[in-house]
């Protein structure tokens, strides 16, 4: 097992889909696995701002969903 740790202030990341990117500080890998990409905190915040999700405070029961 090998450990990949982001440099101080940086983040490791992996894309799960177009809208989802997982950021973390440390991962654990098989010895022969490829390392993850790394980015700065500014790059992380920029990506998150560009991919901001729906406001979590919204009450789903008030959303006008037409299932007819």
């Amino acid at each position: 097992m090998k450990t990949q740790t982001a440099q101080e202030g940086n983040w490791l990341y992996q894309d799960e889909s177009e809208d989802y990117r997982y950021f973390t500080k440390e991962i654990y890998l098989p010895d022969d696995a490829e390392l993850w990409a790394e980015c700065t905190n500014e790059e992380k915040e920029k990506w998150e701002e560009e991919h901001k999700p729906i406001d979590p405070g919204q009450d789903p029961n008030n959303i006008s969903q037409d299932w007819r």
Partner: protein
């Protein structure tokens, strides 16, 4: 014509005889070919027949088909098994009636049949939903003892009767396949609906009396839409063989439900909803949904404080949107356990958010290494199910898995025993990522992490 001599006339007579013989031979060949085909068709309906039999004998066999060869529900003669006879004394048995209609020689060319059962309380019923080229068969019999049939829109006046049965039915026979059917009058809403062959969408635009919708195997119903209406669903609801569910299938009322089972090829709309604005208190003992693909929701608009005891979703592809969830609006519900069967690909929100979810089973069907499963709530928030302590993988799991949105409450013991120890052997393949999230990951020792990395998995 005059013949110069007797020999020429005999030759002409022979030519005439030859032509007659040829005609007879052709007719005989057509007759034999027809008997072969007729016997084959009778045999395909479950009654043995042979081309060596005479036409009257084959005609008797045709009559035998109508009496013996009901095949619905996967080949079972349901009514006969259940009741010991093809008819019940007190009410028309709709399984039996549908089987008879599907075998009725008058209806072989209709693309879809919708059998609607009514309370025995009307004097007459306006028949006007079969569409162009359609027909109606009713539970009153004609002078020949057959169920009365109309081939145009009309009003049927029920006979006052002597059949002694407590219900009535109308079969709407559609000329084309996948013909839609609308219920527009509360007072004449059917209470049971059985569909045969291929029927389109059943829509209720009004509050009605639907208690069950039955689609036997080997028949198809495109969808059911009762959105925004109250119906009279029985406490146990089973709706199968749906093609493409759009709209809302079931709108719940304020009663308790034992079991709800729905199977469909596609679910793009909603399985369970509420009449908009309602708030109800109800419970569902078990909720089982089977589909080939779900891009819609299972519960929506549900604003009830209730229990859903046993939830099983059997579907390889569950793709939700970013602004809805599989169990949308189920935040206040008590749902302790969800089992995902045959899961291959899962994304989008499962429950918008929920404090009562404790356990999730993830059982793959095809162990597709390129399809990922993500367990999440709304948006990109984490710890959406703060009391979810246990996620159990099917043994041999070899797929990307992201659990970090779901819960920070997974216990070390459950992570090791139910996730890491259940991972399959991925050595020699590109590494697969299991995302537990930093909080859950920090609970593990290096030895425990190595359980996964030694098998070719990345822990994140």
């Amino acid at each position: 014509m005059t013949y110069p001599n007797e020999l020429d006339q005999q030759i002409e007579n022979l030519r005439t005889l030859q032509q007659s013989y040829d005609g007879i031979a052709q007719a005989a060949e057509a007759y034999n070919t027809g008997k072969v085909e007729l016997a084959a068709n009778i045999t395909s309906k479950g009654v043995e027949a042979s081309a060596t039999e005479t036409l009257p004998e084959l005609a008797e066999k045709v009559r035998a088909i109508a009496q013996e060869s009901y095949t619905i529900n996967g080949g079972e003669m349901y009514a006969k098994q259940l009741f010991g006879s093809l008819e019940s004394p007190n009410y028309w048995n709709l399984y039996d009636i549908l089987a008879q209609l599907l075998s009725d020689g008058r209806l072989v060319n209709y693309g879809g049949i919708l059998l609607a059962e009514y309370y025995k309380g009307y004097d007459s019923l306006a028949l006007a939903e079969a569409g162009a080229g359609g027909a109606y068969v009713v539970s009153d019999k004609d002078e020949n003892g057959q169920f009365k049939m109309y081939t145009e829109d009309t009003t049927h006046t029920w006979a006052t009767e002597e059949d002694g049965k407590g219900n009535r039915w109308v079969a709407y026979c559609f000329a084309d396949e996948y013909h839609d059917f609308q219920i527009t009058n509360t007072g004449t809403s059917p209470r049971s609906i059985f569909t045969g062959r291929k029927v389109g969408t059943i829509s209720s635009l009004v509050d009605g009396r639907i208690s069950q919708i039955v689609v036997p195997d080997n028949n198809e119903l495109n969808a059911v839409n009762t959105a925004g209406t109250n119906q009279n669903w029985s406490p146990n609801i089973v709706v199968r063989n749906i093609n493409d569910q759009v709209g809302t299938l079931i709108t719940l009322s304020a009663i308790n439900y034992g079991n709800i089972y729905v199977s469909a090829k596609k679910i793009r709309g909603c399985i369970i909803g509420l009449k908009s604005g309602d708030t109800i208190n109800a419970s569902i003992g078990s909720l089982i949904v089977k589909a080939d693909e779900i891009t819609g929701v299972i519960t929506s608009y549900i604003n009830f404080s209730a229990n859903i005891g046993n939830v099983i979703v059997k579907c390889p592809r569950i793709v939700g949107g970013s602004d809805s969830a599989l169990f949308f609006g189920a935040s206040a519900n008590f749902i302790p356990t969800i089992t995902f069967e045959d899961v291959e690909e899962m994304s989008g929100s499962i429950i918008w958010t929920n404090n009562t979810l404790k356990k999730v089973y993830l059982n793959y069907g095809v162990n597709n290494r390129t399809k990922s499963v993500t367990l999440k709530g709304y948006g990109k928030a984490t710890n959406m199910y703060p009391n979810l302590t246990d996620i159990v993988l099917k043994d041999g799991w070899c797929k990307p898995l992201d659990l970090h949105y779901a819960s920070n409450a997974l216990t070390e013991e459950n992570i090791v025993n139910h996730i890491l120890n259940r991972l399959g052997d991925n050595t020699g393949q590109p590494a697969i990522t299991i995302t537990l999230g930093a909080t859950n990951l920090a609970k593990l020792t290096n030895e425990e992490k190595a359980i996964a990395t030694n098998k070719g998995f990345i822990l994140a």
